[in-house]
């Protein structure tokens, strides 16, 4: 007779799980990547493919992942390995796919803790008054001058390079107890402690405290932005100009080489396939679909608790943070203080967050306070995200080896910190971080999304999906959502994935051939993947034997 596995833990409340999932999804991508993408891909025109992708990809696939997770949890599995094994009719192939999918959150958690430490370090520096123009502590900032001054942007760029060790590999390890190392250790300890406390006493309680704090910090910054008027008095730098820069569907683009002015309109942007690719990618990454986090969190939802409304609420909360908060608090003040000339720095999340915005806060009245609020907000959203991506690895080790929480967290800590040390050592131009980010946060989720949707649509079947959605549902999801997953989301995802590979793969493969650090990073990822595959294979064999007994 097959052994009956029991679910290990549960969330205490419906609100708690929604806040934890939304907190896991809300991160730097919402506040920094989204505004940059909107500006780069046609402003208001970008929002049409963005909203279509939200309806056709985010809602259906996120709800599917919730259903898959809760189904696995009911069967006593909490890791992607176990959930895929259960939903895949206990086939070894789907078990291995699930095991391999745990690679994505594992590797992302390795560098996310490092990025989280930057946010905390910047917040602490604002709190201590070190990041004020002409302030003490950084002689580098002595060059900062008010107004549109390239020296100023350079100074903040140099500060960012110095802080993150971008100048040379191993530079942050040169000084014993360098501030970034200490803060990274604090962030790692906070993550592991909260996960060790468990889903309800650790993650859920923390999310309930942090979510209002994120909102409060965002409100402070947004109110400040909306009441700035035209702070420099320069033409084209008012609040409406700032908002228009982000939302206008038509824009004048100056060719840097020839100086010719070209006007893009709504239809140009909509007929450009790259706009659709950028919009879908943004939705995909910001909602954190197929990273294993939502699936793992949903596995702790009680058997007869709602997942239909919870999944839509968590997804819409993420969109609220992205569109309403992220859309208002970053680009408009940057345009108001620095003008459209700074727009070339908006495309990169790190450049926008750690170079452009500190520059803006330096100019803003009470900028120290608002800078502190902004980086506290970034830190809080980053820590809830990093917890959500460490938890699948913890669940995997517990599912696979039957470890106690203490032993499980010790093993997770060892594996994750090895990767964090790797990323922080190879810090020159953030090469290792960039390689990890591209292959695991950009490439792997698309692939994982395709596999997950195939599993749900063709193996687990839409009838089971429908039953899972309806179990304990407060609001029933529309019947059409199942066929949308199978006939619209899946082909759309495959199409976007292939086009994305076509656009990005060539350059990336060239970089792999040329950059040794990228090669080391891929070897590192390969070793982890092999380790996960071997572990998953052994565990699936053991489960199959147990099922036969």
């Amino acid at each position: 007779m097959a052994q009956q596995r029991k679910p290990k833990e549960h969330w205490n409340s419906r609100i708690g799980v929604v806040l934890a999932v939304a907190g896991g999804a809300v991160g730097l991508g919402n506040f920094l990547r989204f505004p940059g993408q909107v500006v780069n891909y046609g402003g208001g025109a970008f929002m049409i493919p963005y909203l279509i992708s939200f309806l056709l990809i985010a809602i259906p696939i996120a709800s599917t992942e919730w259903a898959l997770g809760r189904y696995g949890g009911r069967k006593g599995y909490h890791s992607p390995l176990g959930v895929y094994y259960a939903a895949g009719n206990k086939s070894a192939f789907w078990g291995l796919c699930g095991g391999l999918s745990a690679l994505t959150p594992l590797v992302i958690s390795m560098y996310y803790i490092f990025v989280e430490a930057w946010c905390l370090l910047y917040a602490l520096q604002y709190l201590g008054g070190l990041l004020q123009p002409l302030g003490i502590g950084y002689s580098l900032l002595d060059n900062v001058k008010p107004g549109l001054d390239l020296k100023s942007a350079d100074a903040y760029g140099a500060l960012f390079s110095q802080t993150t060790g971008m100048e040379a590999d191993g530079s942050i390890f040169r000084t014993f107890a360098s501030p970034l190392l200490v803060v990274t250790a604090v962030c790692a300890a906070a993550n592991f402690y909260l996960i060790y406390r468990g889903v309800s006493k650790g993650i859920e309680r923390f999310s309930k405290i942090v979510a209002p704090l994120i909102l409060l910090c965002a409100i402070f910054v947004i109110v400040r932005v909306l009441t700035l008027g035209n702070p420099t008095g320069a033409p084209g730098q008012s609040l409406l100009d700032g908002l228009g820069f982000m939302w206008n569907p038509t824009r004048e683009v100056v060719d840097a080489a020839t100086g010719e002015v070209a006007r893009t309109n709504l239809f140009d942007s909509l007929l450009n396939a790259e706009t659709w690719l950028a919009a879908t990618s943004q939705i995909f990454f910001s909602v954190s679909i197929c990273l294993g986090a939502t699936c793992t969190y949903a596995s702790y939802v009680r058997e007869n608790e709602d997942i239909a409304l919870s999944s839509v609420t968590a997804t819409s909360a993420n969109e609220f943070c992205e569109v309403v908060l992220g859309g208002l608090m970053t680009i408009p003040p940057a345009i108001m203080y620095l003008g459209a000339q700074a727009a070339d720095k908006f495309g990169s999340s790190f450049s926008l967050g750690f170079v452009v915005l500190p520059n803006v806060f330096g100019e803003m009245p009470a900028g120290q306070f608002f800078g502190f609020c902004f980086f506290t907000l970034l830190f809080c959203s980053a820590i809830t995200s990093s917890m959500s991506i460490v938890q699948p690895t913890m669940a995997l080790f517990q599912d696979a080896f039957g470890l106690t929480r203490k032993k499980g967290i010790a093993l997770v800590c060892l594996v994750v910190l090895t990767g964090t040390a790797f990323v922080s050592w190879f810090s020159k131009n953030l090469a290792a971080l960039d390689a990890f980010d591209f292959w695991l946060a950009n490439f792997a989720p698309f692939l994982g999304g395709v596999f997950q949707t195939v599993l749900v649509a063709y193996v687990w079947k839409l009838s089971n999906l429908r039953q899972e959605w309806d179990r304990g549902a407060i609001v029933k999801l529309p019947r059409i959502l199942g066929p949308i997953v199978k006939y619209v989301s899946l082909p759309y995802l495959i199409l976007i994935f292939l086009f994305w590979c076509y656009k990005n793969m060539h350059g990336r493969l060239q970089e792999v051939a040329e950059n040794p650090v990228t090669q080391y990073s891929l070897v590192f990822i390969g070793v982890l993947a092999l380790g996960l595959l071997a572990t998953s294979y052994a565990v699936v064999r053991r489960w199959k034997k147990e099922d036969k007994v």
Binding site: H10, N12, S13, R14, I15, V18, G43, G44, A45, M47, Y50, L51, L240, D241, L243, G244, M246, W247, N248, P249, T250, L266, R302, N304, E305, D306, L309, S310, V312, T313, S316, A317, E319, F320, V323, V324, G327, G472, I474, V475
Partner: protein, 47 residues
Amino acid sequence: MTIGGWISMTVTLGFVLGLFSWCCYQMTSAPETPEELEEDAKNKPKE
């Protein structure tokens, strides 16, 4: 800001805010589950 900018901002923010508010309303107005009531009772300070 152009008229197109106003339209795209209003429609997008309106859609997202509307959906999020509807979800929040549904979540808060739904009855608590027996497990949640049990948990509330546990957390209530004893008189």
